[in-house]
Symmetry: C2
Subunit: 393 residues, 2 copies
């Protein structure tokens, strides 16, 4: 089986060594930088038509082992899949998104281990795209800059009420309260995030300003009580079918004249057809169950139809690639410690997911858009300044 594959594999001239179950090693190109150890001979059949999903799954399940820099591993996996993989054109099927399913999906990912996330996230545990104002910042600086960029876009003023939908460990909630003097309600479906989030609020003495709750976005009253609403890395979990409901919910929770910021990952194609052989399947199976990425114009349509007016959109695609580079490198530098915190299988998933998503953002398979919208007053007026210059002072 392998023998019949070797001409095609060698034709790609990849810097890859195959380490076989019987001790033999085959170099597919000069100066291999990556070694793929095949523990299970049955995997060889998959190599005839590889995909990032097949390769990733084999690694997660221990049928393959990897040695070499992870970004190089991903690049080689992509080249293999593009050269030999089957064409995929079908968009994924819609996912179920009732409250129980969503709670379970969120728990699967975010309740993994607070200590594990602390190992490679920034000091404020901001688990979303950083903002590199010049490209020279470190991770802590980029995450603080991102929090400030969001607060500035929301034009937060002391005393305002901010809702943070999908608040994670509360990094943005605490930053907004501390630096901009607002009152924040943050909600999450992750018990682990809530626990550590509340501890950090208490440690900063912000209990009077920041309230964190375990709550589904559908359970919030639609009474326009918030001046501003922010949602970071959240609409990816909502599902295409629920996006209109989700946007109406945000729109009806903000007062007229208020602002809503949606920051999240968007798909490359409007119809959801995949980019990157099998990358999406791997993410859906192992990383973000029930996750669905809408295209910018799909989430934009739902925002518009909810009565909000889109006023500012910014792509931060390459910022997310760089953020994931930082996360991946920090995890790779702490693998021994990580093994003490999470099962080997989870570690394998997170390793390829972080390096793979960096690659996916860099290669324009997925994007990151910050979409700012206002809810205009009845007469069409709003409360935004004439220009965006205030964001850059």
């Amino acid at each position: 089986m392998l023998a019949s594959l070797l001409p095609a594999l060698r034709g790609l001239s990849l810097p890859l060594r195959l380490q076989l179950w019987d001790g033999k090693a085959i170099d597919l190109g000069p100066a291999p930088s990556v070694t793929l150890a095949i523990n299970d001979p049955e995997i060889v059949a998959d190599l005839a038509h590889p995909s990032l999903d097949l390769l990733g799954a084999a690694y997660v399940e221990g049928r393959l082992d990897l040695d070499g820099p992870l970004d190089e591993v991903i690049r080689i996996g992509d080249e293999l899949s593009r050269a030999l993989g089957k064409d995929e054109t079908a968009a994924p099927l819609p996912e179920s998104h009732d409250k129980a399913t969503d709670a379970e999906a969120i728990s699967y990912h975010y309740d993994l281990s607070n200590d594990f996330y602390q190992l490679w996230l920034d000091r404020d545990m901001v688990y979303s795209c950083g903002y590199f104002e010049t490209g020279t910042e470190d991770l802590d600086q980029a995450q603080q800059a991102k929090l400030r960029h969001l607060c500035r876009k929301l034009r937060l003023k002391p005393g305002e009420r901010l809702l943070d939908v999908g608040c994670g460990w509360g990094g943005l909630a605490r930053f907004a309260a501390r630096e901009f003097g607002v009152e924040v309600l943050g909600i999450t479906l992750s018990r682990e995030q809530l626990k550590l989030g509340r501890e950090r609020v208490a440690a900063e003495g912000l209990e009077g300003q920041v309230q964190l709750e375990l709550m589904d976005y559908r359970d919030l009253p639609r009474d326009g009580q918030f001046d501003k609403v922010v949602s970071v890395g959240m609409f990816e979990h909502v599902g295409q079918a629920n996006l209109p409901l989700y946007c109406r919910q945000l729109s009806e929770m903000v007062r007229p004249g208020g602002l809503v910021m949606n920051h999240g990952i968007t798909s490359r194609h409007i119809d959801g057809r995949p980019v990157g052989h099998g990358a999406g399947e791997f993410i859906g199976r192992y990383v973000f169950p029930h996750g669905e990425l809408p295209h910018l114009v799909k989430i934009g349509a739902c925002i518009s139809e909810s009565g909000l007016e889109i006023v500012d959109v910014e792509s931060l695609r390459l910022h997310y690639a760089r953020t994931l580079d930082f996360w991946s490198r920090r995890l790779e530098a702490n693998l021994d410690e990580a093994r003490r915190l999470v099962p080997e299988r989870a570690l394998r998933i997170w390793r390829v997911y972080l390096a793979g998503c960096a690659y996916g953002f860099r290669h324009n398979w997925i994007n990151l858009h910050q979409i700012l919208a206002t809810k205009p007053h009845e007469d069409g007026s709003h409360e935004l300044p004439w220009s965006r210059a205030d964001l850059y002072r």
Copy 2:
């Protein structure tokens, strides 16, 4: 007929005087600021179910005369139409957009009279939304700032090749050549714009850098010869059916790594259903024949599907309201001169169109979006700076 209408009209308590054909005057509310002179008794039937289209048409055709501040006229017309008009929910039918139809439609509006446009546009004759950085600028300042804002967003560098699709009288082309050192090809379908545009290029000695041509966007070669493409106030004329073609055209004329800016008027609703009783019909009939406004997400979808990546969107809705206030006030201050330049019927059309569109932008019936997109390199990289801070230095 009128007697039976009066209770309903009086119930609105509008500051409106009806001056009848027989010399009688009826005040519908206290302290009338506007007088509507009914020259033709048959118009009274229309007042039972008024719309901005019916009222505007009656004024254009001389069956009504108006006296009073135009912004107040429009406000009263809107209140009448909302209170007594029929509900409209149907989206307008698609318009024809072959090359001959488009050329005729453009000529109808833009070939009206260069001298007339010079009467109320800024000194550079920029016939699109100005950019009020602080809200205190005059019209000339706002248009110069808009040209600079566009050039900055396009990150123009000396020696680059810029295509200006729908170049008007060449204000942007000359500005970009003079201030940013680029070479510009500008195309228009208006012979009058071309004539005066070329004179102004010559007067500034920019013939070596700026070339203006009478050309349809469909006739440009798709050879990626331009570093940057800009289109201002153009996609409103393209038509919904041709938007995908139009975007593919722009996408294929720009080199990989280049930028495309689409600046234009967008509709309130995605399905095109009207806002403002009959305002759209009036514009289509008298002002911009065959004009069609896409929603932001519709033009955004076409841009995305053409292979471009949307990186920056900015709404300038209230900037356009203010721009139109300036234009309308300047025209109102020069009515005698205007009457010497264009027929009375055209003057009536332009008077209510300018004041009416100011009202429409202010009340969120229509919007203005600047949509910047890049054509990424094969490997997903692009040439934009990390942040938008350079736009505000």
